[in-house]
């Protein structure tokens, strides 16, 4: 569905991505895993056409995003929702206004239809009754769920999550992960960028491990866990130190 071919990008003389190629399959949760500063978020910005790579191609349903006109990119962005790492909610707008802000053709909808849309989206993310609150009145987990509701307002085919659980407590982390699973059941394709292995394993179908702008491993969980790549082994080893029981469970499940 989405394919990146030989993507390289350099910003301020720093190589962000170096000859990256990957495929995101329809209806699955693809995890982009790696340490902070590895270039994970750049992949999302390139898919959305926010950043233009120095070389390579981004194919969305077979069409090259890099060669699209502005209007075509705007149309593409209506098929792809994004949940930003810092949520990027507008402080001066209420929850309902944030969700409706980008809704296309909202002027054609009646007051009742708009209200129904908001109720539906807030109910999906378990935040019914918060429509009149401002972002500053919400907890970190609630903000994240509003950001997800906003991304869903378009009924996108693909949702890009940038570090969706970073900085959240375990309960909020769990509710965000449940939402990602629920989206998959509804047929939505998700790309989840994270450095938290625990969360990646819980929701991921396909895994892409990236380090210093290069892809070091791709495949299913069992392929990643048994990888002979030294970086991937080190990444899992460090994860195992802090999450011994979890790692033992995963290893038993996979091996």
């Amino acid at each position: 569905m989405i394919e990146l071919k030989n993507i390289s990008i350099t910003l301020s003389e720093n190589t962000i991505l170096d000859n990256v190629s990957l495929t995101i399959e329809k209806g699955l949760n693809t995890i982009v895993l790696g340490p902070s500063g590895a270039g994970k978020s750049s992949i999302l910005k390139i898919i959305l056409g926010l950043w233009v790579p120095d070389s390579g191609e981004v194919l969305f349903e077979g069409r090259n995003v890099c060669k699209m006109t502005n209007d075509e990119i705007l149309q593409l962005r209506k098929k792809v929702g994004m949940v930003f790492q810092g949520n990027a909610l507008f402080d001066s707008l209420t929850v309902a206004e944030n969700i409706l802000y980008f809704l296309p053709d909202k002027k054609k909808l009646s007051e009742n239809e708009l209200r129904r849309k908001i109720d539906e989206l807030l109910s999906f993310v378990n935040l019914s009754g918060t429509e009149n609150l401002y972002p500053e009145e919400l907890s970190g987990g609630m903000k994240k769920r509003v950001a997800i509701a906003r991304a869903l307002a378009f009924n996108p085919e693909v949702i890009l999550f940038d570090e969706p659980t970073t900085g959240l407590d375990p309960i909020n982390t769990e509710s965000v992960l449940e939402l990602i699973k629920k989206l998959k059941q509804n047929g939505t394709t998700s790309v989840i960028v994270t450095h938290i292995l625990d969360d990646a394993i819980e929701v991921g179908d396909n895994f892409i491990v990236i380090n210093e702008g290069k892809i070091v491993e791709t495949g299913s969980l069992d392929k990643i866990v048994t990888s002979q790549n030294p970086f991937v082994q080190e990444f899992f080893k460090r994860f195992a130190k802090g999450n011994h029981n979890q790692f033992v469970r995963i290893s038993k499940e996979v091996l």
Binding site: L74, A88, Y101, P104
Partner: protein, 245 residues
């Protein structure tokens, strides 16, 4: 520097290309007009009043030695309408509106809200820059007019109190002294000031990077460049446009 000028020129080009979008973002434009107009009102009132008062005191003392205090009215009136009214209003608004625009847009840039706009298919130029530019261009004229009027009134009060001028005579002289050319130049300047203050401050806001330090630096740059440009544009009007008319 050259790269910055190039980017700024592209921003200005984009503003003109997408100017029609103001119809779709009318509520944002009105909101910005309200923020510039009402929130700057007392600042402009004070700035204009004290500029007129000081101008009347300084010129009054000099003219008094020649027994020509009747000329205070003409000096204050022409000084306020042609030069000081627009420049003082421009400088105060460069600080207030410029800092507001850069800090708002810069904070949005740092918190990925600008990226969010783009990601959801909206244009930051249409949603953020054009409403601010239209609001500045339209609101700077009435604010300058207020600065001019309160400046002349301030000069009149000083003239009456300190130099014992007759109020109706002062007012008549002040009004009669103003020619169409004075009004034209004095009221044309705010449009240019408004346009450049808004675009410079939006440019610095949208190009903010480097966290809160970068935001502080860009806010200072926006105010400094806007203020400097107000003075440069004023010089161009005084020297070039005035002579051409």
């Amino acid at each position: 520097m050259i790269y910055g000028l190039q980017e700024f020129s592209l921003l200005i080009k984009d503003i003109f290309v997408h100017l029609g979008s103001v119809r779709d973002n009318w509520s944002e434009t009105v909101q910005e007009m309200y923020l510039i107009g009402t929130k700057s009102f007392f600042l402009i009132l004070l700035g204009g009043l004290f500029t007129g008062v000081i101008l009347a005191i300084e010129t009054g003392h000099q003219l008094e030695t020649f027994g020509a205090t009747a000329w205070i009215a003409k000096t204050v009136s022409l000084g306020m309408v042609r030069e000081l009214g627009p420049v003082i209003a421009g400088l105060l608004l460069a600080a207030r509106t410029g800092a507001k625009n850069t800090s708002e847009l810069g904070a949005m840039q740092l918190s990925e809200q600008i990226d969010a706009l783009k990601a959801f298919g909206a244009s930051p130029i249409e949603k953020l820059v054009i409403p601010r530019t239209i609001a500045a261009v339209t609101m700077f004229l009435p604010l300058t007019l207020i600065a001019d009027i309160v400046g002349i009134v301030g000069g009149m009060l000083v003239s009456y109190q300190t130099f014992h001028s007759d109020i109706p005579v002062f007012w008549n002289t002040a009004i009669i002294s103003l020619k169409m050319k004075d009004l034209f130049v004095g009221f044309l300047k705010p449009f240019f000031f408004g346009f450049f203050i808004a675009t410079i401050s939006c440019y610095f806001g949208l190009t903010t990077k480097g966290g809160t330090t970068g935001l502080g630096k860009n806010t200072i740059n926006a105010v400094v460049y806007s203020s400097a440009l107000v003075l440069v544009i004023d010089f161009i009007f005084t020297k070039v446009v005035w002579e051409l008319l």
